[in-house]
């Protein structure tokens, strides 16, 4: 028990180091992770599938390599969670939806996503597939077709979403790292709500081959980890050109982990007024501003900047993302995989309608129908084309500001984690959670969320995690890691709240 607690508190890099040094076997690491998952997954809902057998097989392979004296990868023996939107060969993959389950049989992809294959090539272990909002549509993981995930800091609250399961698994120390996907903030917002690090890379920086598509002009795969360096190492492994993804950039990958040692002396940090106004919870604002001043104390220069089109980001996003989703989700038609419903004596159209009607949950239907509306004849110019033009203005705001500053610092989310059920009946309020994270997706920019000091919810109560968001120009991820590592170092002495973490006595 004592050793398990110790292993579960290692960072991803510490796990890899201890395994490489032979202090612990990969199998012991895997068993420790499985024990913790066993204890915490039922109350917290982090994993949809736990892959114990696969993890132990992968762990024994790592141990065998070590015994034979063969070189070990950068993630050798590190248990990771994979958002259920990423394909894993032979392992159930549902994207949080019942449309990918027939009878009691979930879909098992015949191939691995490129990002997943790259993790295995470095010796990582698959702990399981993480819970998520259905088709990544949501900000609380309550839209999972199976069960909601809960925030380890306060299980009556959501962990955010849509990569909520990945965030919970990391924040509750079941595993030191995970992959998520971020279309409008789905890695960064749950990282902020649960107190872990979440990175949305530059659009095209990471392959999307094997990522189940939601909105193709916005989707990216991103790492989550219990610390900044762990997230940096994961990104180094998954980033880079993939001939199987025509939208992946053929550009060299920077040394992100090394960049964490760089510091922020001379770094120009833009602070946009539009991200600190109405709607931002005062207690969150205080902690985010305090973290920005820490950067200044460490040698950065703060520059007030303006991003005037920020207030249109939510409307722009919900036109563009739903339009793309209505097209991408056409592939779930009951023909090739997953669910099928055939009404008696019905034709193929009746089969499509019945399958999709039964297979998709309410938020997915809402977005498909909205997307169909904004693309339909007579509304295309008024909504879809208009939103694409506003998207250009949002991009230009950033282009202009990045002429003056190196990074932009903002809150990741306007509040601390909200209560389960609090916003479920009000889709528009739920959408407004993403007001600070959507612009990076619309502009294709890299952004990350790093924990700062916690803040109480607005009605009072125990402090909850808060995230600082850092944004950079395209391919400037290294700069974001440098600044995030400084924030992390300043705040390390303060323990993030984790009522259900393995060391804390469970209530």
């Amino acid at each position: 028990m004592g050793q398990r607690n110790e292993i579960q508190h290692w960072t991803l890099i510490e796990v890899a180091q201890h395994v490489a040094a032979g202090d612990v076997s990969a199998e012991e690491v895997a068993r420790s992770a499985l024990d913790t998952i066993e204890e915490l997954n039922t109350p917290l809902g982090a994993f949809l599938t736990v892959t114990a057998d696969q993890m132990l097989t992968q762990a024994r392979a790592v141990d065998a390599r070590r015994t034979r004296g063969e070189p070990l990868g950068k993630l050798a023996g590190v248990p990771l969670g994979i958002k259920d939107a990423l394909c894993t060969r032979g392992v159930p993959t549902t994207c949080g939806s019942k449309i990918l389950v027939r009878g009691s049989e979930p879909w098992r992809p015949p191939y691995d996503a490129t990002t997943v294959a790259r993790l295995w090539a470095e010796g990582a272990l698959l702990a399981g597939k993480c819970n998520m909002d259905e088709f990544a549509m949501g900000s609380s993981t309550e839209n999972s077709a199976f069960f909601p995930a809960r925030n380890p800091a306060d299980p009556t609250r959501t962990p955010g979403g849509s990569s909520g399961g990945s965030a919970v698994a990391v924040a509750a120390r079941m595993i030191p790292g995970a992959l998520g996907s971020d279309t409008g903030g789905s890695v960064r917002q749950p990282a902020a709500y649960t107190g872990c690090v979440g990175v949305k890379p530059t659009y095209g920086r990471v392959s999307r081959f094997g990522l189940i598509a939601y909105a193709s002009s916005l989707d990216v795969v991103g790492p989550m980890a219990s610390d900044v360096r762990g997230a940096a190492r994961l990104l180094e492994v998954i980033a880079g050109h993939d001939p199987r993804d025509g939208t992946s950039l053929d550009q060299p990958v920077d040394a992100y982990e090394a960049a964490c040692e760089r510091g922020v002396r001379g770094l120009r940090v833009g602070v946009p007024e539009e991200y600190f106004g109405t709607g931002l919870q005062p207690e969150v604002k205080t902690q985010v501003e305090a973290a920005i001043h820490l950067l200044e104390r460490e040698g950065a220069t703060l520059v007030p900047v303006h991003l005037p089109h920020t207030r249109h980001a939510v409307a722009t996003y919900y036109v563009i993302a739903t339009a793309e989703a209505s097209s991408n989700l056409a592939r779930f038609d009951g023909v090739r995989f997953g669910l099928r419903h055939e009404p008696p004596a019905g034709d193929v159209t009746a089969m499509y309608e019945a399958t999709r009607g039964k297979g998709f949950g309410p938020e997915v239907k809402r977005r498909i129908v909205l997307g169909t509306y904004v693309l339909s004849h007579g509304y295309y110019d008024a909504y879809y084309r208009k939103a694409q033009q506003v998207r250009t203005l949002i991009r230009r705001d950033f282009d202009q500001v990045f002429g003056e500053v190196d990074v932009i610092a903002t809150p990741t989310a306007p509040t601390v984690a909200f209560l389960l059920g609090e916003q479920l009946d009000d889709p528009l309020t739920m959408y407004l959670n993403d007001v600070y994270t959507l612009p990076a997706n619309l502009a294709g920019l890299p952004a990350l969320s790093v924990p700062v000091a916690p803040a109480p919810p607005s009605g009072g109560g125990s402090p909850l995690p808060v995230g600082l968001q850092l944004l950079g120009p395209p391919l400037a991820e290294a700069r974001l890691f440098a600044a995030a590592a400084v924030v992390e170092a300043m705040l390390t002495s303060r323990q993030p709240p984790g009522a259900l973490s393995p060391t804390a006595p469970t209530p």
Binding site: Y318, R336, E353, G357, L370, Y373, Q389, T392
Partner: protein, 99 residues
């Protein structure tokens, strides 16, 4: 403040276009929710976008074409294995052309 509903006939048309069945209760909810959301996205009309090019995709100009080389794809039996209905050659669907 009461929100405008999207007419139920419009919702029915959209559901048909999207090949989605929905119960009457779901249609009512969609009508109310979409009315509210469309009212919100209406605010985009205030933005002056005269002469502004639309952004369909970022960074497309930096992307390279791959060489057009034939590669081994997914094996047919593997591709068919998880289909709800299939035979040795392909996916099976209900009739859509009259015999």
């Amino acid at each position: 403040m009461s929100h405008k509903q999207l007419p139920t006939e419009t919702v029915a048309t959209l559901l048909r276009l999207a090949r989605l069945s929905a119960t009457p209760e779901e249609q009512q909810k969609l009508s109310a929710d979409l009315g509210k959301i469309i009212e919100y996205i209406q605010a985009l009309q205030e933005v002056n976008t005269d002469g502004i090019e639309p952004t369909a995709h970022v960074l497309l100009d930096r992307l390279a074409w791959r060489d057009d080389i034939l590669e081994q794809g997914l094996d047919r039996s593997e591709a068919l294995a998880q289909a709800p209905r299939h035979d040795d050659e392909g996916f099976r669907v209900p009739t859509f052309v009259e015999d």
